[in-house]
Amino acid sequence: MKEVKLFLGPQHPGMHGNYSAHMYVEGDMINKSYALPGMLHRGFEKLMERRHWMGNLALIPRICVIEPDPNEMVYAMSIEKLAGIEVPERAHWIRMIILELARLAANLMAIGGIGAPVGLYTSVYWGVADRDLVLDIFEKITGARVYHMYIVPGGVRKDLPEGIEEEILGLLDYIEARLPEFYDLVMRSPIFQTRTRDNILLPEEVVWELGVTGIGMRSAVNKEYDIRKVKPYARYDQVAFSLPYGPYSDAFTRVDFKYVEMAQSISIIRQSIEKMPKEGPVRARIATGSALRWRVPPGMVYSCVESARGEYGYLVVSDGREMPYRIAVRGSSYPQGLLGVEKYLPGHRIDDASLWMDTMGVCAPEIDR
């Protein structure tokens, strides 16, 4: 059979975002493939060197559009470490609520989105609509649907609006009730099962070879490897939650784990609302003076959080001036999105390519930056 060159993306409905893979296909088997990133490259790391520490607040969430909040969190954490600031207790809990809501939204999107490559379009409609309800909550808390700019160095930007806790709890109840329906719709669907069971495997060696983190890693290495557990930030050490892990990672497990993690997110948010101090300061100043002249002491620090796709980190370098000297971004899906596509996408069938991208959690904007 003749080998054919084939694009997947950037303008392909099965491709999540503006990303592309060059594939050499024989029949419907992929023989060779290369990721073609850079369509979403905006030069973030350069732009961040050109803005004030505070001005970067507008820039950082835009690195990853699906789940912007981990960006804000790692940025804030880095500056807090460099400047040695103690974040107020209440702010820690509010941050956790925000981060878990963001994870919930991202997972809803992912679970909805999984319907597209397997041809289950109802799940897209459901997932996106339910995610929108989370965005409504975000709008009430932070003032924007997608780019919140809410977690700031030193705490959070504003206190929670009054009565939002009840609304969040109401939403959680709703989503919790919806989860089994999703499960019925997606996971128990024969089409889905046939497509994902024992398909797109991720063995443990590959996890270590590439540096895959997040659900992919947990499902393969049979350990609860999650930044929230291994090096807890905010107040994750004070809430009870357990994450799914297993020794056998196929597409089905990875999607299945998302459901379990959503339930865990819901539980974390509930605990946070219960445990957080009802009042108190929510922001500490990171430096004296007006925001135009905030300075961060010189130094280098790496901070990371667990995003919905894995370890998300920033390396922040300050030279003591009013702008960062260098910020490097570790996108969670960088390893699987680039090296993974090159090494482990071949051997799959064309129709599984988007499923591969999807269940591996490849997120274009955080790779391209």
Partner: protein
Amino acid sequence: MTTNSKDMRKTWEKIADYFRAHSIWMKWYCTGCGAIEMPPTMTSRFDMEQLGMGPMATPRQADVLLITGYLSAKTLRRVIYSYEQMQDPKYVVGFGSCTLNGGIYFDSYATMTRLDHYLPVDLYIAGCMPRPEAIMNAFDTLIKMIEKGEAKGWRHYQENHDWYRKNQLHSLKEVYVKDEFHE
């Protein structure tokens, strides 16, 4: 784009525009951040099918090209390529700050600053990013514009192709990608 010139359409064009306006295929190309507000717009929460619009995977069958935010030079090449594959009449909607004047990436080495230098834009939506309500209203406006024959960007592109191409070449050096994959 001339906006206040008299309606010069022939009767058949008017009829055609009426039908075009009420059955629009939107090209499914998420070029930037704004694309994240597309799923809610397309699916049940806002449901753009109410307007007679639907997503279309291939450029050749699509009517509307949405530029959902910033365009890196690399994407711009592919967007131009896609736009030129689309059949006339075709319309371009620019989402948010980035398509107008570069947005937050105004000083980036990788992203273009103003979209109408490279492609004719029929409509802009303010916001970073625009909410689904704004997008829906923009679609509504676009439909009315098509109906009235005001969305004539595609004709402008035909007539001023040299100007557009000059700008494209200035910013991109090569419009069509040549690499090992495109031998």
